[in-house]
């Protein structure tokens, strides 16, 4: 189901946030933000202090950081507490995390327009400064409390590992013993943050704070919610998007032992039972029939034909430097290609689920969501009740990858639960999850470039055609027909090209909802740009690394990662028959990344990625172990897409249904991955997505090196790559 005419809560520019402290219930200190709507800069905060905001220091010295971002694997429940702990001078062994309740006001990320949204590799980037400031303010207050207690000047005190130290007298006081007193002191107006050279925690490999629960079975994901009196339901929605429910054999469903109720909404049916298996059997017995509606005959070929036609229209200009069209006309050599990125499903390991209890007093929702505040608003809108009557109990996410930025399934669950007196846990089957995803859109790109007689790249023209996710999801980022995500990674190239023209044509596919997917715009654009750079290198008769090296002369951070990745990969050394190396360079999310993939292509055309060397410059590193983990992760995710990822439509229906036909990489298919981190103290860049974005063209370029076949349409299908 898709909410039409949906407008997410947008951040008010007149809002101001103030740091404030108070005593914690049961003792200790709280520090966090209060939000004052419409307040003028400098005016005193008037709102009540929210006891949930950000940091709690207990009497036992334990520090709990309520993480404004949600954990979905990327390590944010370790990295964000590290930021606080650094400036607080806490002992990481005493630091833990908590899950934030819904509130854009308290937990909105400044990097995403103040929305409480985890995505776009923005968590560290958005909270790097505010969380350190909160930690520094708390530290200063603890020092002030110690100064009063010991009767010494604050300048004589230092802090280390959760203690205030008076070196002269040899006295040490733990933060727990100071928290009560500190909570009554004024919050400092200004704090001085550490210089990177003073860091003791940031930049060190801290073990994940969430690992224990994830290895002993106690970690709670949305699907693990247990509510007294709860029943379990499963769902069938119209297999054609936009269709409606026609009929259900309710009696047959209710005849299945354990089935309690059959609930219908416009486009879907849920069978409620004592356990999932009975619900599944009940749904089969119910044999729901649907009116397919206007999209009954849509096929992928229709979508592609419409995109191809749209690519002949002029688009909204994303970038225009020099005279690309004119210089292309004069070029000694001119190349033109069409690249295609397919629809993709997210296929997180945790299937879509949502537990809801609707009562006359309001609504409780147990779920894992990347957008708690928007989910709350969506549910309250669907129920027609006040927003604060919807309580979101957010959980760990068993993978997000953009799927849990959407709340279609939460609204659906609420509409079902509204008709049930019991709390119901709705669990989609894997088939329902794959066939009712909101998909990474199909994109169709026309790209051309000109080389001068020396093989220098002089002109670049790139037209990007596809669905605008921003127009639906965040209209503020869709201005003058230009979708900022659609062109992300295509307009700020790390290359020096004198004449550049990039435009975007919006063309919405019929009958298939679109959404963000790991790596967002840059994942699509990096495949196009970096494959085409390789084509140009070949046309200029230059080595692909040397070609990139020359183009990055004015981009030293880009050039460095290219050179290091080439060096570490053994670029230029022979690999053997039907094997090859490919490079890709990415600048996106504030991060520079070069990846070299090594592939083997067998005689049947199947590609195996043997090794990936990855050199990343993401500025100041918070947790190097997480940076490595995220690159390993992103690379595996991207290889699945490069080799096999494809959602297709036939008769308006998604043809794929489970991991047997929506194939993802297994351990025996995984490459050896090497990661080198450049730590240069620049502003922190994002790390959750770049690995995925860069590896896809690196693999495609390696396949070209191995076979001489340039694949311009993903995935890299074996039938194009057979030995001849």
């Amino acid at each position: 189901m898709i909410l039409k005419d949906w407008k997410p809560e947008t951040a008010s520019l007149s809002r101001r946030r103030f740091l404030q402290a108070s005593a914690a219930v049961g003792g200790g200190m709280l520090i966090g933000w209060v939000d004052v709507a419409g307040a003028e800069p400098g005016s005193a905060p008037a709102a009540e202090f929210s006891p949930n905001a950000f940091i709690r220091i207990g009497l036992d010295g334990k520090v709990t950081v309520i993480s404004p971002s949600i954990e979905m694997g990327q390590g944010t429940y370790t990295a964000l507490p590290m930021l606080v702990a650094e400036e607080l001078d806490a002992d990481m062994a005493q630091v833990t995390y908590g899950i934030a309740p819904p509130s854009d006001k308290l937990y909105g990320n400044p990097a995403v327009g103040g929305a409480q949204l985890t995505g776009g590799s923005n968590s560290v980037r958005g909270f790097y400064k505010p969380l350190r400031e909160a930690g520094a303010a708390a530290r200063q207050m603890l020092v002030a409390a110690a100064s009063e207690k010991l009767g010494v000047d604050a300048t004589e005190l230092t802090t280390e590992k959760g203690e205030v130290i008076h070196a002269k007298s040899g006295q040490r006081i733990g933060y727990g013993a100071l928290a009560d007193a500190a909570s009554k002191l004024p919050v400092p107006d200004k704090v001085v943050l550490k210089e990177p050279s003073q860091f003791r925690i940031i930049g060190t490999p801290v073990k994940r704070l969430d690992a224990s629960g994830k290895v002993d079975g106690t970690a709670k994901f949305g699907i693990d919610a247990q509510v007294p009196g709860m029943k379990v339901a499963t769902v069938a929605a119209s297999p054609v998007f936009g269709g409606t429910l026609a009929s259900v054999d309710e009696a047959a469903a209710l005849a299945v032992p354990g089935v309690r109720q059959v609930i219908k909404i416009d486009d879907a049916v849920a069978v409620v039972a004592d356990h999932y298996w009975a619900a599944r059997k009940g749904l089969e017995a119910a044999a729901p029939k649907f009116n397919a509606g206007p999209n009954a005959s849509v096929t992928t070929a229709d979508v592609v034909a419409a995109l191809a036609k749209a690519s002949e229209r002029d688009g909204a200009v994303g970038k225009s430097v020099g005279d690309a069209a004119g210089e292309l006309g004069k070029a000694a050599q001119r190349l033109e290609s069409v690249y295609e990125n397919p629809f993709l499903a997210h296929a997180a390991m945790e299937p879509i689920n949502c537990t809801v209890h609707v009562t006359p007093e309001g609504c409780d929702i147990w779920v894992g969501t990347q957008v708690p505040a928007n989910a709350q608003l969506a549910a309250s809108t669907a129920l027609g009740i006040e927003r604060d009557k919807v309580r979101i109990h957010n959980h760990l996410l068993g993978g997000g990858f953009g799927r849990r930025l959407e709340f279609d399934f939460i609204v659906q669950a609420v509409l079902f639960a509204k008709q049930s007196k019991d709390p119901i846990k709705i669990v989609w089957s894997r088939e329902e999850d794959i066939q009712h995803d909101m998909y990474r859109p199909y994109y169709y790109d026309r790209i051309s470039a000109g080389l001068d007689p020396k093989g220098e790249l002089i002109a670049w023209k790139h037209r990007i055609v596809g669905s605008s996710i921003m127009a639906r999801f965040f209209p503020a980022a869709f201005q003058n027909d230009l979708d900022s995500d659609a062109v992300d990674g295509a307009i700020e190239l790390p290359y020096d090209i004198p004449n550049v023209f990039v435009d975007y044509v919006r063309e919405e596919p019929p009958g298939i909802p679109t959404a963000f997917w790991r790596g967002v715009g840059p994942t699509r654009n990096c495949f196009v740009v970096e494959s085409f750079i390789d084509e140009l290198a070949a046309a200029a008769k230059k080595d692909p690394v040397e070609f990139r090296r020359q183009l990055t002369a004015k981009h030293p951070r880009a050039r460095h990662v290219v050179e290091r990745a080439a060096e570490l990969s053994g670029w230029g050394t022979p690999l053997g028959e039907r094997k090859g190396r490919g490079m890709a360079l990415l600048f996106a999310f504030g991060t520079y990344l070069a990846e070299v993939a090594e592939v083997s292509v067998n005689d049947s055309g199947e590609v195996h990625v043997d090794r990936v060397v990855s050199v990343v410059d993401c500025g100041q590193v918070v947790n190097p172990d997480t940076v490595k983990a995220q690159l390993q992760s992103g690379i595996i995710f991207g290889i699945s897409a490069a080799l096999w990822g494809e959602i297709t439509l036939k008769n308006g229906r998604v043809e794929q249904s489970n991991f047997d036909n929506y194939r993802v990489l297994r351990i025996d298919e995984a490459p050896k991955i090497e990661v080198e981190i450049v730590n240069n103290g620049e502003a922190p860049g994002g790390i959750g997505e770049p690995g995925t974005s860069a590896v896809i063209p690196a693999v495609a370029n390696a396949v070209f090196a191995a076979t001489g076949v340039r694949v311009r349409k993903l995935p890299l299908k074996a039938d194009l790559l057979r030995a001849t």
Partner: protein, 150 residues
């Protein structure tokens, strides 16, 4: 009627004999550590031990468990200190963590049969367990670490 032992506790079930253990464990016994991933035995998220052997609980009916002993992630070790769990924490293996119970149960069963698996044996044994976060390199390293004693 099925009589089985779950994490050392004797239990009886008199409902549908075709009920997969996955749903019995999650929805009837409230042991939610065992995860639902695909429902058709291709992802390994629901891996448990049946008389010490790693099996997919989504394809194992409660009738098949009659008279047998079931171990889930919650029962692998009383204190989370199984060698595999220790290795997993030491190498910060989990990311989202959803598939990890299945991975750990698969690895633990392997090490029971084979104290010193080769790299090839590790890869072969773990190839039925999907991880969308792509923790494979660390999973491999952690199995090796656990085999060597943590």
């Amino acid at each position: 009627m099925a009589n089985l032992t779950v994490n050392g506790e004797k239990r009886t079930f008199s409902g549908d004999p075709n009920l997969p253990l996955l749903w019995y464990l999650r929805d009837e016994v409230a042991l939610t550590g065992t995860k639902f991933g695909c429902g058709v035995g291709v992802c390994g998220a629901c891996t448990i031990h049946l008389d010490g052997e790693a099996v997919r609980s989504c394809l194992t009916t409660i009738a098949m468990a009659d008279g047998k002993s079931v171990t889930t992630i919650e029962g692998l070790s009383p204190d989370g200190e199984h060698a595999v769990q220790k290795a997993w924490r030491q190498l910060s293996v989990p990311q989202c963590g959803y598939c990890q119970a299945g991975q750990i149960m698969q690895a633990a069963a392997l090490l029971t049969k084979n104290r010193a698996p080769s790299d090839e044996q590790i890869v072969e044994e773990m190839s039925g367990n999907l991880c969308r976060c792509g923790c494979y390199q660390r999973i491999h390293a952690a199995v090796r670490l656990a085999a060597g004693g943590v």
